[in-house]
Structures are given as C-alpha cells and as structure tokens.
C-alpha cells in the first residue's frame, strides 16, 4: 500500500528522501511493489523514473545495462528473441517456448558486441511470459526484488554480473542477493572471449513463473571446460555438496545466496514455502571445470546428488531436482556446442555428444527436423 508518492528531480535527492522517510521504497516499473504481497504494508514511494540510466550499451570489454531498462527492452536487445522467427525457427505455434529454449551464443562470425550475453539475458527476460508486465518491469527492480523465481538472476549469476550501486560501489550478484536493498544504477557484465551460454527453464505453463530455471555460461579449451558458471532458481546446492570440498569459495557464496531470501515480506503471495532464491551452483561448476563434458545422461546422474529442492504447488522436490539436473545437462551441452562452434570456426573440435543439439527447443519436437510418418 503506497501512502505517499514523490518524484524527485535527481538521484541524490531521491537517495536523501528515501533515507529520511520512514518505510520509503524506490519505485520504477511498480510491477512488484504494487502486487498484492505489499497491499497491507504502508510504503512511501520514491519514484526514480528518469533518474537512473536506461541504456543498454556494450563496449569491447563491458556490457552495461541501465537499471531502468525494461525487461521488454532487454528482450529486444537480445535480438528480439521472443519474436524473431529466424532465431527460433518454427516452434510451437505462437509460443516463446522456442525463445526460451534457444541457445545464446552467436554461432559463427560477425557476432555483435555482447551478443552472447544479450541473447542469454533476452531469453531470461522473455521467460516472463507476459508482455504487459515486461513493458513495465525493470532490470534493476527484477534484481532488487530478489524473488525466488526471479527471471534474470540465474543468467546474471552465470555471467559474473556485478551491480553498480548508487554512490559508485560495485557488488557481485551473489553478494547483493545475500543482502539486497541498495539502489542499483546499472548491471555490468565483463565480456569474456570465447564465452557461450544457454538458458533453460521449466514451468507448468508458458505464462507461469519458473519452477526451475538454469543459466550456464562457459568457455572451452579444446574439449575441456576451462571455466563454467551455473546460476539457478528453484534448486539449491545440497548441503552435502557444500561440505564435499568442491569449489569451496563458490560453494559458500552459493549457499549464502541460496539462504538469502531478501527483505521480509518479499515473496509470492500464496506460496508459504521458503523456496530457495537464485544462486550459483558451485559444486556443479566444480564438477565440470577442467574436464571434458560427459554425455547427457552422465551429467544428469552426476549433478542430481548435488541438488536440493523444496516442494510447493508447482512441483515436488523430487521432480524439481530431476528437472534441474536435466536442464543443467541441456544448458551445459548447448553452451558447449556453441562454444565449440565458435572454436570450430577457428579450427577447434566439437564435443561429440549426440544429444548436444536435442535440448534446443524443449517445446517442440518438430524443431529438429521433419516428423516422420509410417504405417503402423
């Protein structure tokens, strides 16, 4: 419940008013703060419209996304993933399923600056299957709200994004999510040569929030995974995985991120369960870094014990874990195939997994070739 509304003329003034006013919140798109979850909480809204950056800019080293960029603008900057028939081919009739399943990473040459990163983020943003909301919801708001189903967070975690905060401080996504609140001015993603990425999610319906979502970014060195990041919502690292000594630094961060649910009162209206928030799956990363990728079924088997999940109305814990392991395998192989494609252009080898391509479009079996009919 908003009881007051002010629209300052500068960021400095906005920060000052917010500091001085009890129950003050920054408001941009408003799709989170005006939702029923906040209806009984008195808030003074400090509008930041026009006060923070909105541009999406890429240099050779850095992709910078203004906090006020809308999710729709992010979708469009990602090559119009939700709309571009060329990128997603004839998917399920009129569905963004294909966009969600599409593989980020511009195969071949002439990739625009930050093409890989923007494509991944575009897929993540398009997973909010509601254009009306994407037209208002902002990148900064999506990160700051830190909802358990946040659509951008897995991708931002996988891309080692850092957040430029008001006052000039920079924080990693994981650090921010562990204690959100500070005003975000921009999201910055250092660009890495040879990086490829993929986003996968499972939801009951296309318009539903994700029950599980996974983003993978990686670099290959030959057929070996040189570096990999796995960001996820809907699952967390299993407690045992953290203590198994794999990727200890990352694991701590992941655990912290998973535990951090954001400020009190933030969450979905009806789901009483404490779903894990977005986090990196360090144990999963550690499993693959420095080695060649396994086949799909082997990845799933290896990953499953490292995951933990909670049951809610969307899925049982068991199903969530199963799907998360599958989505991780799919995203890893899809990203690896892309990375190999990039390297292939320069004479590298492609991992030989027969299923590497089969995760392209979970929504549509037609995607990978003509259906065959035979008389039974």
């Amino acid at each position: 419940m908003i009881t007051r509304f002010v629209h300052p003329t500068s960021e400095e003034e906005a920060l000052r008013i917010q500091k001085e006013t009890p129950n003050a919140v920054f408001i941009a798109g408003g799709t989170h703060l005006l939702s029923p979850a906040f209806r009984d909480r008195p808030m003074a809204a400090v509008s930041i419209e026009g006060l923070l950056p909105r541009e999406i800019r890429a240099s050779a080293e850095l992709l910078s996304i203004g906090a006020l960029a809308t999710l729709q603008e992010l979708v469009e900057s990602g090559g119009g993933a939700a709309l571009d028939g060329a990128r997603v081919s004839a998917g399920a009739a009129g569905s963004t399923a294909a966009a969600r399943g599409s593989t980020a990473g511009a195969a071949g040459a002439a990739a625009p600056a930050a093409g890989v990163e923007l494509a991944l983020l575009g897929d993540a943003a398009a997973s909010m299957g509601n254009r009306n909301v994407r037209n208002r919801a902002t990148v900064g708001g999506n990160v700051a709200a830190n909802k358990p189903s946040a659509c951008l967070a897995p991708a931002l975690l996988a891309l080692d994004a850092r957040l430029l905060l008001a006052g000039g401080a920079r924080r990693t996504m994981a650090d921010y999510l562990a204690a959100p609140g500070a005003l975000i001015e921009a999201v910055e993603i250092p660009l890495v040569r040879g990086r490829a990425a993929a986003y996968r999610r499972w939801a009951r319906t296309e318009g539903d929030i994700s029950a599980v979502a996974v983003a993978v970014a990686l670099r290959l060195s030959g057929s070996v995974v040189a570096e990999v990041r796995v960001g996820a919502t809907g699952v967390r690292a299993a407690a045992a995985a953290g203590s198994a000594g794999m990727g200890s630094t990352h694991a701590r961060a992941a655990t912290a991120a998973a535990a951090g649910r954001g400020p009190a009162g933030v969450g979905t209206a009806a789901s009483s369960e404490a779903l894990p928030g977005a986090g990196r799956l360090a144990a999963v990363e550690a499993l693959f870094e420095g080695s060649a990728l396994l086949r799909r079924a082997e990845i799933e088997r290896a990953v499953l014990p490292l995951l933990d999940a909670t049951s809610d109305i969307r899925a049982s814990a068991a199903y969530r874990r199963l799907r998360a392991a599958q989505l991780i395998a799919d995203a890893l192989l899809a990203a690896a195939a892309k990375a190999a494609g990039l390297a292939g252009a320069a004479g590298g080898a492609r991992p030989g997994d027969p299923h590497a391509g089969s995760a392209r479009n979970p929504g549509n079996p037609d995607e990978r070739g003509r259906t065959k009919e035979s008389t039974r």
């Binding site: 005006l34 009129g94 037209n135 208002r136 009806a270 109305i313 049982s316 199963l322 990978r368």
Partner: protein, 969 residues
C-alpha cells in the same frame, strides 16, 4: 495530489490519492472498460491501457506515475461510437463472447499493429501474452489480427469467418454480427460493475479460517462502532430460512441445506459475517474488529474420509421431506445443534452419514454380461477439483426503486434468482426485479445464487444500495468449483471388442453444501453411457459432503468427468484386446435407430425418458478425424526425447432438460415496422441473443436489424428457466421462434383484413411485407393502422416452449500429443474437434464456443488443479498459482469442424453447442499419452510429474491407480 497526462489525445489534469493506481483513477472518473480479474496481481491483463504506445496493466501503475505520459483506452479507438479496424475485425471473425477481456484485446492488437504492420502468429501470441480469456480459446484473435493487418493495406478485404449452412435460409446458419458485440468491443457500460452509483455501500464478507468449526461466540459490537459501518449480519440476525443455492427448476433435486449464515462453518471461506459499510476502508476495518471464537472440528477433506464409518458429520440438523418418504435406513432426527435440511423429494440422501445424494439403476443383467465377456477390466479414474474462473467474478448490485428491490445481477438464472431471494427474504416475487446485465463469463458458476441474497437482504433491510463483488481469492474458495470425482469403471467385452457389460460407480464430492449433488454425478452416467449402448449396464452414484470448497455446476456438468472415465476405460480395454481404439469405438458406439433404455432411469431426480436415436453424425465425425489425422500411421518426432501419440474420444451432451425446462418469449411490432423481442433467455456471452434475433428475423422475413432484443430481465421479459443444461439455443431459441410464428400469423390476419383479402391468400415476404392476391401492405403500415383509433391493437405474440424430445449434440475429438520421456511434459500438436450441433445457427460463434471449451478442458486435463492443504485451505487461490490457459497454451493446430444435422424439434434444426466440447480433451489426451509412452495416467490433470510417475520414472505422490488385479482374461 494532481496528475496531468494525455488521455485519448486530450490533456487532462486530475486529483488523485498518492497511492491510487491508474486503474482506480480512470474508473473513478468514468473510464470503465479497464476491467479487473486478478485483483491487481498483474496476471489477467484486463485492465490494459496503452502507455506511451505500449500495453501495460493499469492496476500496476500509480496514477502519479502517469504524469507527463500518453495514455489511451479503448475509447480512443471508437470515437463517436465508430469501430476501429481491430474492433471491426474482432466482430467479423466472431471473436467476441462475454466481452470482458475484449477491450484489452483491442488495445493489445492495436499496439501490435502499431509496431508491426504484418504480424506473424508468434508476434500475436506475444502481444496477447498478458491477457487471460476464459471464453474464446484465443484462436479467433489470431484471425482478427491477420484480418485487421490485411485491411490496413486493403480496406475492403473480407473473408469467410466460418462455413455457412442451410442455403435456403436468410440468417440462420449464416455468419452475422453478434447482436451485443459492438457495444462490448467498444467497452461500453454493460456489466454489473458499470451500474454502481457513487453512494452505494460496500459489502465485505468475513470468511471462516477453519474448514469445519462451530462459532462459539461472535461479537460485532466493536465492528458496529466503526464509522461508516451500516449493518453487520451474522447467524444471530440473518433471516431464519434454509435454502439451496442451485438455480435449478423448482422443485430442485438438491437439498435446502444452507442458511444465509450458520453457527456451523463448513469450509475455509464459509460465511461468518457480512459487513455493509459506506466505503471499503470502513468495511475492512469492521471486518478486522469482529471477534470470533471458533471451536474447530475435525475436517473431512475427501470422499473416502466422508464415507468412513467414524467420519465427522458435516450436517447434523433435522432432515425433512416435502414429499415422499426418507430413504430406508436413513437418519432424520437432528441433534438440535445444526440447521435443518429440507429435501423437496427423496434423492437417496442420508446427510447424517455425509451422504448428500445417491442413485443406482440398471438395464439388462450385468452379472450375466460380465460372465459372457472374454475380457474384463476394472479401473478407477480421479477428477480433481478445478475451478470455473469466469474473468468477471461473482458480483451483484442491489438497490431500492420505489417499493421494489432491484437486483443488477451477473447471473445465468434470473427467475430462479428471484424465487430464491423471495424465499430467503420472505417477500413476494412481485417486489423483486432482477436485471441480468452482460455476464463476464458464467460457465455454470453463475447458475448458483452465490452472493445475491445477502446483498438483497441488506438493501431490503436498510433501504440503501449495496455493491458486492467477490475478490479473486474468494471466487476460488467461496464460489463454485467442479465436483471432484472418483469413478470406477468395469467393462466386459468379447474378443472382437463388442461390449457385453458396463458398470460405473461414481463417488462425487459436493463440498459442504449439496447444490447439484444428485444431478452432476448423474450426468457423469447419463451423458456418457448412451454413447455406448450395451445390453447390460449398471450404475451407482454416491455424492458426499466434505469440508472442501463448494462444488456446483460447471460447463459439462459431470459429463466431463464421466467421459474421462468411460472413454479412457474403453481405450484401455482396446489396448488389452489389441484392437485399434477407434475400431473399438466404432464397434460399440450409438447409431441411428438405437433405443436408449438406460435414459429412463437416468432422470433429474424424476423418471427420465427412454429415447430412440433418430439422427447421429458420429460416424461422419469419426471418419473425418480418421482421415484428417491419418489415423493408423505412426508419427516420429525425430527427437528421441519426444514421443508422439494419438487419442480419440466420442462425446455427447443434452439440449436442456426434457419435461422439466420451459422457456418463453414475447415479440411485438413497433409502429415503424420493426420488432421488439423480449426473450427470457440469459445470454452469458454465448450468442443466445443473436440466436433469438436470428430465428425471429428468419421467421418474420426481415433483416436482423429489424429485431431488437432484451433478455433475462424478470420485469420486462417472460419466464425462462435460465442458461444451463445446454438449453439456450434449444429452449430459449425455440420460444423466440414460436413467438415470431405467432406474430407472423397476427401479421397475416391483420394485414389480410387491411387488404380486404382472405388470410389464406396472404403470405409474408422479405423485407417485411404482407402480400395477398390483389395487393400488399408493409409491416410499418400494418403497425401504424393497427395502433390508430380504428386499429385492432398493437401486434404482440407470446411463445412458450417445452418438450419431451431429447436433442443430443454429439462430437468426436482427436488429439495428437507429444510426450517428453525425460520430463513428462505433454504438448498438444493437433486437436481436432468434430461437432454435431444440429444446424449451427451462429456458425462463427459456434466455432468460438468449441475453441473455448477445448482450451478450457485442455487446461483441466494438463495443469489446472485446486490444491488444498491438510487443513482444507486452498494453496493456490489466484491466477499466478492456479494457471488457466493463456494464449501460449492453445494447441499448436486447433481445428473445429461443424458436422450439421437437422434436429426435428430444435429451432431450424439447431441443438446445443457449448457444453459438449468440454468432454473430449481428458480421455483423448489420456489415450494419446498412452499411445506415445505406454503409460495410463488416471488422475487429471496429467501434469508432467504424474506422467513420469505413470511411466515409472518418478516414484512420488502415488497419484495413479495401479492396474486392477481383478482384470480377467
């Protein structure tokens, strides 16, 4: 604070509260077409506006945030009541049904055309992704978008929106503009919420937090002291009458088992107290100030729990019968602690054992039939609780006009509503005027009196107007849902597939009150067994009270659950016999000339009518599906993860209740030769007003514009049973037809007299002329002369329709599904519906009804489910968590085909259309899943998780029943 923005091209400056949403401000200032179906959750999109050229939800923007921006509502596109290119296209393709979402669709498509003049399907999907519609199945929105885009380049372009039927007729069977669509597509005043005056009081309900409890103490003194509170009702001061909320014909086959408020609360959200206040804030404060001490009782949450010998008893009051004697062995003496229960006649109930109704019947000898069988199977199917979710929730506005109570209602049953309110209030029906407004989706939920009587009583008591609208959460937990059922089916057959015996045992959950308790589960048998005439059939239904959300009527009315069970069992039997499932259907299906004796025992609490089938186009429907789907070929996806399978089911419904229902219409000739039709029928978005106008214009040989209609108004139109049991076209349509025929006779009589000719020498001709042997006279001249001083009086006629004839609409639904063997996900590649609805009177609207029913039933089959916790609380009472199909979920290739027949009794051969199409999805999809991956899922919805479980991949929730060990071979 003041806010300035551009609204529909004009600058405005308005005062608003700092926290007020743009939606609230616009509506407050009379810009009404921004609706609301999700209470500001952002999931329905019905409050859309165009904000700086982009569609956004106006409920998720503060009015203050609009400052300096450009905002357009649907009014921007229909200046001076003209129609925009998008509005015109939506009308032309027949995409307007209840109209509640239509203004938002108009905006979304305009914004789309603004950025893409030749949008593809994918862009259209994306444009509509934020808007929920429960009526249309979204399919025709694509056609409208393409048509509008085409007309941007070629303004005069037209195309057929649907095939047309009956060449010899002028209007019937032809694509014509839906008579209320212009007003709806412009977003004009139409719904209950548009009638509310600024001084209306608000009614809010305190719902029980317990599934089952006794109110030990309730103290409303603090609440009464809240400034602005006008009245508070509890069980202590409400009318002392028990009644039934079902809008069924009197005497109802349902118990009178509820009081307006009771000391006993029987489900989470059950009424505890109503607050009437001058504003919402006061009402909320008063709700919070009511003190209640509950004595919680153990809740009964399933049929199995309800039937257990030691089950807590949900109704313990005295049981009385108006006629007939109590069922043998049933308990009638009350414990003095609960309200009485009155049955109009026995329906096999024993409420003190939680049994709300029961029935059983048979033809032939099932024991012998099973003994003759080469193979028998026994299976149990579970239909979980799904919700009707009309986009407009239950809503009512009541006020006093003179000495009378006016009820602006969103109802399917104006006359039953009047009768029930009169009973509860203890006033004569002539003191009550029910005005059926446009209904923003009914689907059966608005066949029940869910909230009207409380508002009506408070208005009658205080003299002040009352506005009462359920929140979306209340709509989920305290309106009406589909009866959950467990249905056991036993089938016996010969090796060649011929059925020798069928047994159906239905266990239904009515929730805490027994509206439709007998008839919904009865329909599970009476609208399925006649599809498979078999010499030996036995059925047995029992409906139990539980403390779960209230069940009621829902499009399909039990036939949907029964069809899932019986048709899936038939497919399972075919598999066991290694027969093609379609051949199995062919071998056993109903045919012309079959006599359906089973129907004589399957009435609505009274004897039914046996029937000999005179026409049935199932054979054509099955052949069409076989051909179009290339049945018998196997389809491979090219991806080892996705397996493709096919399934089919045949389905039926009824067209009203023969011998029980009745409809009336009146029509009169106005002095310019046009007509005014007063139909009792309740158009709830289905196109019924268009049906009545069409048949009247057809009979009277005039253009449809020459007939204006009002309907469903208890003061100005004659009695009609209401819109339920698929009776609209058949009953209300026929009443209009008979009224028009009677008026035609008057026109000929009076015209002949004026022409000085014999009536037998006169006939009527288009466009409105009576012609004899010597001369002719126009309707206008007849009207003017008959209303002058030497005239014979205004020409009027009445039509009354009732029948013992059963007009059965048939259909065959075919599905091609892809099932993912890793994830269990099911995607529908093809959904082909073949439907016999007699003469399709409104072919474009009939297609829309089929698309809508199919998409809805696909939702029920794949993901919709109300989830209750161990205390009976619904965990997903909102659109974020209870997903209804969005535009993404339309099957990839969705087709509906009308296969016409001519019913001998229906208006111009018409039969019903809307309900029957609900019945095919579950069994056809279940069969397709099995065809794809070899697993039977016997619990709907077939979620990805349940599919994996059935495949044996995931061991969890135990939600499929094991193959019965008693199968014999």
């Amino acid at each position: 604070m003041n806010v300035s923005f551009t609204l529909n091209g004009r600058p405005v400056t308005w005062e608003c509260a700092e926290g007020e949403t743009l939606h609230s401000l616009l509506r407050r200032l009379g810009h009404l077409p921004m609706r609301n179906a999700c209470d500001g959750e952002g999931t329905c999109g019905l409050c859309s506006v165009i904000f700086d050229r982009k569609t956004v939800n106006s409920c998720m923007i503060l009015a203050a945030q609009a400052d300096g921006h450009e905002i357009s509502t649907v009014a921007h596109f229909s200046k001076e009541r003209s129609l925009s290119i998008v509005q015109r296209a939506l009308l032309d393709v027949g995409a307007v049904q209840c109209g509640y979402c239509t203004p938002s669709v108009v905006l979304a498509l305009h914004a789309l055309l603004d950025r893409s003049s030749e949008p593809g399907d994918r862009e259209i999907t994306d444009a509509l992704s934020g808007i929920l519609c429960r009526c249309t199945g979204y399919k025709q929105f694509y056609a409208a978008a393409h048509l509008a885009a085409r007309r941007l380049k070629e303004p005069s372009y037209t195309e057929a929106a649907a095939p047309e039927f009956r060449k010899e007729l002028r209007h019937v069977g032809k694509v014509r503009e839906k008579v209320d669509a212009r007003s709806l597509v412009r977003g004009e005043r139409a719904y209950v919420e548009d009638r509310v005056e600024p001084d209306a009081c608000i009614l809010m309900m305190l719902g029980s937090p317990h599934a089952h409890a006794i109110v030990k103490r309730i103290d409303v003194s603090k609440a009464r002291a809240v400034p602005g509170v006008v009245e508070i009702l509890t069980y202590e001061n409400c009318p002392d009458a028990v009644y039934c909320s079902a809008g069924q014909g009197f005497p109802e086959p349902s118990p009178y088992d509820r009081r307006m408020f009771s000391r006993r609360v029987r489900h989470v959200g059950d009424r505890v107290a109503a607050v009437m206040a001058e504003n919402r804030e006061a009402a909320k404060a008063a709700l919070a100030a009511i003190e209640v001490d509950y004595e919680p009782l153990p809740p009964v949450l399933s049929v199995d729990e309800a039937a257990a010998p030691s089950a807590p008893i949900i109704h313990s009051g005295e049981v009385r019968y108006v006629t007939g004697t109590p069922p043998a062995g049933s308990s009638t003496a009350g414990d003095g602690q609960d309200d009485p229960i009155i049955y109009q006649f026995p329906i096999g109930a024993d409420p003190h054992r939680n049994l709300a109704a029961s029935a059983a019947g048979a033809v032939g000898d099932v024991e012998r039939g099973f003994a003759e069988a080469d193979v028998t199977i026994e299976r149990e199917y579970t239909a979980t609780q799904v919700h009707t979710t009309p986009m407009e929730p239950h809503v009512v506005y009541t006020r006093i006009e003179g000495e009378r109570l006016v009820i602006h209602a969103s109802t399917q049953v104006s006359w039953h509503l009047r009768r029930i309110v009169a009973r509860v209030l203890g006033i004569p029906e002539n003191k009550i005027h029910v005005i059926k407004e446009r209904v923003g989706g009914g689907f059966g939920a608005k066949q029940d009196i869910v909230l009207e009587e409380v508002a009506a009583y408070l208005t009658w008591k205080t003299g002040r107007s009352v506005y009462y609208r359920l929140s979306r959460t209340e709509e989920f937990v305290a309106s009406r849902t589909r009866h959950p059922m467990k249905i056991a089916v036993k089938l016996g057959a010969k090796r060649d597939g011929r059925l020798t015996a069928i047994e159906m045992r239905v266990r239904a959950n009515t929730g805490p009150y027994g509206q439709h308790a007998l008839t919904v589960p009865m329909n599970a048998c009476s609208k399925t067994l006649p599809l498979l005439p078999c010499p030996n059939v036995h059925y047995d239904i029992k409906t139990y009270y539980t403390n779960t959300p209230v069940a009621g009527a829902y499009q399909g009315y039990g036939a949907t659950q029964g069809s899932f069970a019986l048709m899936t069992a038939l497919a399972e039997l075919a598999k066991k016999l290694e027969l093609d499932p379609l051949a199995m259907i062919e071998k056993n299906r109903v045919r012309v000339g079959d006599r359906l004796d089973i129907l004589s025992s399957l009435g609505e609490g009274r004897p039914g009518q046996a029937l000999t089938i005179e026409q049935c186009s199932l054979g054509e429907a099955i052949e069409a599906g076989r051909r179009d789907l290339r049945w018998g070929t196997r389809v491979e996806s090219g991806d080892p993860d996705w397996k493709i399978g096919r399934g089919a089911a045949i389905i039926q419904q009824g067209s009203g209740l023969p011998g029980i229902d009745l409809a009336n219409a009146e029509i009169k000739l106005l002095t310019d030769g046009t007509f005014f039709l007063m139909s009792g029928g309740a158009d709830i978005g289905t196109g019924l007003d268009t049906v009545t106008v069409k048949v009247a214009a057809e009979v009277l040989c005039v253009d449809m514009q020459a007939v204006a209609v009002i309907s469903g108004d208890t003061e100005t139109t004659p009695f009609d049973k209401g819109a339920y049991a698929s009776s609209g076209t058949f009953y209300s349509g026929n009443a209009a037809l008979i009224a028009a025929r009677n008026l035609k006779m008057r026109l000929i009589e009076v015209g002949a007299a004026l022409l000085a000719e014999r009536p037998s020498d006169c006939e009527i001709f288009y466009p409105g002329v009576v012609r004899g042997k010597k001369g002719s006279i126009s309707y206008a001249d007849i009207a003017l002369r008959s209303t002058s001083g030497d005239g014979s009086g205004e020409l009027q006629a009445v039509g009354t329709f009732t029948t013992l004839h059963s007009a059965i609409p048939y259909g065959a639904h075919f599905v091609e599904a892809a099932v993912n063997v890793r994830s269990g996900e099911v995607k529908l590649r093809k959904y082909y519906a073949y439907q016999d609805s007699g003469t399709p009177i409104n072919p474009d609207l009939a297609l829309g009804q089929i698309y809508g029913a199919v998409v809805k039933s696909v939702g029920h089959s794949l993901y919709e489910e109300m989830v209750l916790d161990e205390k009976g609380r619904c965990r997903n009472p909102n659109f974020q968590d209870y997903r209804v199909p969005s535009v993404f979920e339309v099957p990839q290739d969705l087709r509906a085909t009308l296969i016409p027949t001519i019913d001998p009794v229906g208006p111009f051969g018409g039969k019903s259309i809307s309900e029957v199409s609900m019945n095919g999805a579950a069994p056809a999809i279940a069969a397709a899943i099995h065809d794809a991956v070899g697993a039977w899922v016997r619990v709907w919805p077939f979620t990805a998780e349940r599919v994996l479980e059935a495949m044996g991949v995931l061991a969890a929730a135990g939600s499929t029943t094991k193959e019965d060990k008693r199968d014999t071979e």
